[in-house]
């Protein structure tokens, strides 16, 4: 067993990465370089089975892809993802009271676990969360007594017999309908939604507050965290992300712009302003700069599937925290340390404020996050190896193995390496998702969605 493992990694670990060989599978979206604002992808999320993959964009649309059932004969690749449903989730709104336009951009999508034939997801923009039901219709009734097939009513006097309408198959139609609209609960911009493990409640977080909702009730929500100071002049910190624990329905965490994570227990009190645990790593004095706070700002927090760990993403690194240890992370992975000397330029062009997300694989053994130049990074927690890959249409034929990329921080650039100054900071991968069970990943560039799979022999 051991020998097999080392031979395997000898052949396939050549890129300095995992044992997995990642192959291009599909790319969705427009090919042209001129990116339409509305097509910018703003969120990507697999459902609980991995069969469905949802994306939200800046234009307020949700596109759901469905994995086709595996073809038993051609088992060289897993099923492809094809468009299943497209709908307009949010529209631009105008708040007349505040004289402000409310963007329709979808900030987050979260799936509910499937309970019946229909699928449900929550999608949110800056202010309003919506519960969508996606259902299939593949039969329709035919043979009404009072109506013709085209819908016109028959003259009742011509009806001489009675028949029972029957269902006949029709072309599959996928319908999305809004079932609940949770509005008017957020003064500030919603950055996170998270469904509780009780599958009855969920939280929504904005810059200063977190609210708890019941999925059935739209006219009220409970405020469970409020960090708005009495005097706004004392404001120095905002909430950046929040998530419920995957197993413990009374536990959630929220991260801040100062690099802290607070774990809260809803059983302790109604208002969870006082945390149960505070996770914070002391600042490294040798790395201190004017930008220390900005780069420590946490852009994403995700619990592991097991619930034992959580991962945070700040500007330069990914950190894994053991929930039992508050004073420092158990693992830290550098995403693009070569940017540390460029922080001033990145501050100037605002790239330092980019919010990268991160995700776990199904077994919590590998974590992934995005970077610039359409690069994304994976870190294997067991082997401690990491790999940099690129989402690009060039040289990407189906089942082509992706070539590992390397950034040359300084000094002489080797062949095939890319120097830091050649990186395209407009090509940022902020959103990535990993299939809950298989080695299939979805990586969003500005307006394209890439799907990669591991090589199946």
């Amino acid at each position: 067993m051991f020998l097999k493992f080392s031979l395997h990694s000898m052949f396939y670990g050549a890129g300095g990465g995992n044992d997995i060989q990642w192959c291009f599978s599909q790319v969705k979206g427009a090919v042209d370089d001129d990116v339409a604002e509305a097509d910018i992808i703003s969120t990507v999320e697999f459902n609980h089975s991995g069969e469905l993959l949802a994306t939200g964009d800046k234009g307020g649309r949700v596109v759901i892809f469905q994995q086709e059932q595996e073809n038993k004969i051609q088992s060289h690749s897993r099923g492809e993802y094809n468009v299943y449903s497209t709908f307009q989730s949010h529209e631009p709104e105008f708040d007349y009271l505040k004289s402000l336009e409310i963007e329709e951009k979808i900030n987050k999508i979260r799936w509910l676990p499937q309970k019946n034939a229909a699928q449900f997801l929550l999608s949110t923009n800056d202010k309003t969360i919506k519960l969508w039901k996606i259902s299939e219709r593949d039969k329709r009734p035919e043979g009404y007594n009072l109506k013709e097939e085209d819908g016109r009513y028959r003259d009742p006097t011509t009806v001489t017999t009675l028949r029972v309408p029957v269902f006949r198959p029709m072309d599959l139609m996928v319908e999305a309908s809004p079932r609940r609209i949770f509005a008017n609960a957020h003064t500030y911009h919603i950055n996170s939604i998270s469904i509780n493990s009780d599958y009855e409640t969920y939280l929504s977080a904005d810059d200063l507050r977190i609210n708890l909702w019941h999925l059935e009730i739209t006219d009220r929500s409970f405020n469970i965290v409020d960090i708005k100071p009495a005097n706004m002049e004392e404001l120095t910190e905002v909430i950046t992300a929040a998530e419920f624990h995957p197993n413990s329905c009374n536990t959630f965490v929220y991260s801040s712009s100062k690099g802290t994570i607070r774990l809260c227990d809803m059983r302790a009190s109604a208002l969870c302003d006082r945390h149960s645990k505070l996770f914070e790593e002391p600042e490294d004095p040798s790395n201190r700069s004017f930008f220390s706070e900005i780069i420590s700002s946490i852009s994403d927090v995700k619990f592991s599937h097991s619930g034992r760990y959580m991962m945070t993403r700040d500007y330069l690194s990914v950190k894994i925290w053991d929930l039992n240890m508050e004073n420092r992370p158990v693992e830290t992975y550098q995403v693009h340390e070569y940017l540390r000397s460029k922080l001033c330029s990145l501050y100037e062009n605002d790239c330092i404020f980019d919010k990268f997300e991160c995700c776990w694989n199904g077994s919590d053994s590998v974590v992934m996050t995005g970077s610039y130049n359409n690069f994304f990074r994976m870190f294997d927690r067991n082997t401690k190896r990491d790999i940099t890959l690129e989402a690009s249409r060039e040289n990407n034929k189906p089942r082509t193995v992706l070539k590992p990329r390397k950034v040359c921080a300084s000094g002489k650039r080797k062949k095939d390496e890319i120097s830091v100054d050649s990186l395209d900071f407009n090509k940022k991968i902020l959103h990535t998702a990993w299939h809950p069970k298989e080695n299939i990943i979805a990586v969003a560039t500005t307006n394209n969605l890439y799907i990669f799979q591991d090589k199946v022999n």
Partner: protein
């Protein structure tokens, strides 16, 4: 600007803002400051950059709170690090002034970054000449009203010991109003409208300096809730 469904808007605006990071101006070996490794950001240039960012952020109809808080905190950090000089002789830099004026006149952020880059380039020359933090000192500094003090460095000596009170006082008002300001749209409109006519009043060197200070002064006055319209932005105060 209302966005309508189905309208495909090209990303020119975004691309104007985000200049690519191939801004290797500081790697240019002809610059004296680059003889060594890339120079760390000087406090003063960072201060100005942060103020500009704040300015830009506040001109949004609904500022990104996280961005705002991070920029303000950075400004506080920078200011805390700048030791107050006992006397700062006014040293208007001939090359810096038109850059500042340019940056104020520029309506697009691309021009702003470009002018910031050239401004920082100029500053890197001046930094080598003296230890004084900043040539952008306002010379004709009248008595400041209670509500507002300019963030330009020349005023630091007027504040006495560095207690960070400059930004504490002025920028506090910034957050004070954030909630109600959303309900009071006139608070934003005059700020953005009145600032624009300002730079048109005089492109002269000294006037440019005063414009800078006047504009920022105006901005801060608005933030702390004083009657902004009573202060004509421009020279001759």
């Amino acid at each position: 600007m209302m966005l309508s469904k189905g309208l495909k808007r090209k990303r020119e605006e975004e691309q104007e803002k985000e200049t690519l990071a191939v801004d290797t101006w500081w790697l240019d070996p002809s610059l004296p400051a680059v003889a060594q490794a890339p120079p760390p950001a000087t406090s003063s240039s960072l201060f100005d950059l942060s103020v500009l960012k704040l300015h830009h952020s506040l001109r949004q109809s609904e500022p990104d709170l996280r961005h705002l808080v991070l920029v303000v905190n950075t400004l506080r950090r920078v200011q805390a690090s700048m030791a107050p000089e006992p006397t700062l002789p006014p040293m208007p830099s001939p090359s810096a002034a038109p850059c500042v004026a340019d940056s104020l006149l520029a309506s697009s952020d691309a021009a702003l970054s470009a002018s910031m880059a050239s401004l920082l380039e100029d500053l890197s020359h001046i930094e080598g000449l003296s230890q004084a933090p900043q040539p952008l000192v306002d010379e004709g500094l009248p008595g400041r009203p209670a509500g507002g003090s300019p963030p330009s460095l020349g005023a630091l000596d007027l504040l006495g010991p560095a207690t960070g009170c400059l930004l504490d006082d002025e920028l506090e008002g910034l957050f004070e109003d954030i909630d109600t300001s959303m309900y009071d749209s006139e608070l934003w409109a005059p700020a953005s409208e009145a600032l624009k006519p300002g730079p048109e009043d005089g492109p002269g060197k000294e006037e440019a300096l005063e414009l800078d200070e006047a504009e920022l002064d105006y901005l801060l006055d608005v933030l702390v809730g004083t009657q902004a319209l009573e202060r004509p932005p421009g020279p001759g105060r």
